[in-house]
């Protein structure tokens, strides 16, 4: 299955993102950031929804994220 992956600054922001996105009916999961995708370690959220919509929701809610990629296969 292919997902969009958004690297969060911390577990707290990952959990906050999950709560906010779920409230918008955007299903997502928190996972450890896989090596090779982003620099450093930490947590990411994986979503199937349109990435630009997801990032827009995060920005509107002042939820910091580090980076985002499409095409994460899991």
């Amino acid at each position: 299955m292919t997902y969009n992956l958004i690297a969060m600054t911390s577990i707290t922001y990952a959990q906050k993102a999950k709560r906010v996105l779920n409230a918008q009916k955007i299903y997502c999961e928190v996972q450890k950031t896989p090596s090779g995708y982003f620099s450093g370690c930490g947590y990411s959220i994986r979503v199937k929804d349109d990435i630009s919509r997801v990032l827009s929701v995060l920005r509107i809610n002042n939820i910091k994220y580090k980076d985002a990629v499409s095409g994460y296969v899991r």
């Binding site: 707290t12 959990q15 450890k32």
Partner: protein
Amino acid sequence: MINFDNSATTYPMPPTVSRAVYNAVRYYGGNPGRSGHKLSVKTSEMVYLVRESAAKLFDAETENVVFTLNCTYALNMAIKGSLRQGDHCIISSLEHNSVSRPVYAMSKKGISFSVLEVDDDDEVTLRRLKALIRENTRAVIMTVCSNVTGQILPYREIGRLCRKKGIVYIADAAQAAGVLPLSMNDGFDFLCMSGHKGLYGPTGTGLLISSGRFSLSTIIEGGTGATSLELEQTGFLPEQLESGTVNTVGIMGLGEGIKFVKSRGINKIHSYEMKLTETFITGLRSQRDIKIIRGTGNYSAVVSFNKDGVDANELAEYLSNRGIYLRGGYHCAGLAHKYLGTQSAGTLRFSPSVMNSQSEVYTLLNALKKYKIQ
């Protein structure tokens, strides 16, 4: 057993708190914010939900809520993380040692401080505070409510003054959280509290809530689960101030304590405790050999008193032998006792919670009446 020592630790706790603690031990054994397996992630989620609930109670951003071991740790982090060599700060005459001792320790490192003499008249207190502010005043560090007398400081006005002057306002809300309707909109920059008093959580829990207007330097560094490849400490909240594994079990208990406070309503809790306090004070006034340490200003449900010629600890022991628990002595607030003139004998302190009843207050009053000097 009747516990009137709730200012130290609230007991009994709601049964939901005990259940949450059990569930935490039984089902949430993952390390939050460290691993990616389901146990860790679901534990992280539980910790996050408590963080969010605390944030809502105090009108804060969720990520600005930091879990600490207790109020003393929160205050030390805020005080030592704010002050730099050459800074001046102001504390009040009613401070607990959790404020006065770290400030005194900082005074040996090039920080100066002034003590605001708190008056019963808030206008006088505020006038005195304004007069103490200097060009290099970095922080005002004050209790919201005295743990010795129950006097409530004019915290909203202090918050407004600090905002206007660009001064960091660090507040000790150990006796106020869960009892007074505190909000980060009141002007606090760092609101520090324990979880095991008015928030009905377990011991070993506390909160440091930031307004986000000022950053702190850290007094503890280590693993945060974030920015792990860098030697520099993580630079954002809450992880910056939460090095090492947090107290998951305590936090989950605290979450239920906060739910309990929300369900009862802070104003109702305060009003109920004040009714018990009024009954107690009225009863004390009919006993001629009792001196109540209380003025005419704004006070909460904490009462200090003394019985003529009787050591406060001796009286506390007499009551303890009858199953009534009050704290005698100095209540870790040496500065306050010097200011109140009670440093020779200390005081006995009455502090109810919503778990106490009017009949328990009468039982205490009768026991005090029956006490005979040995």
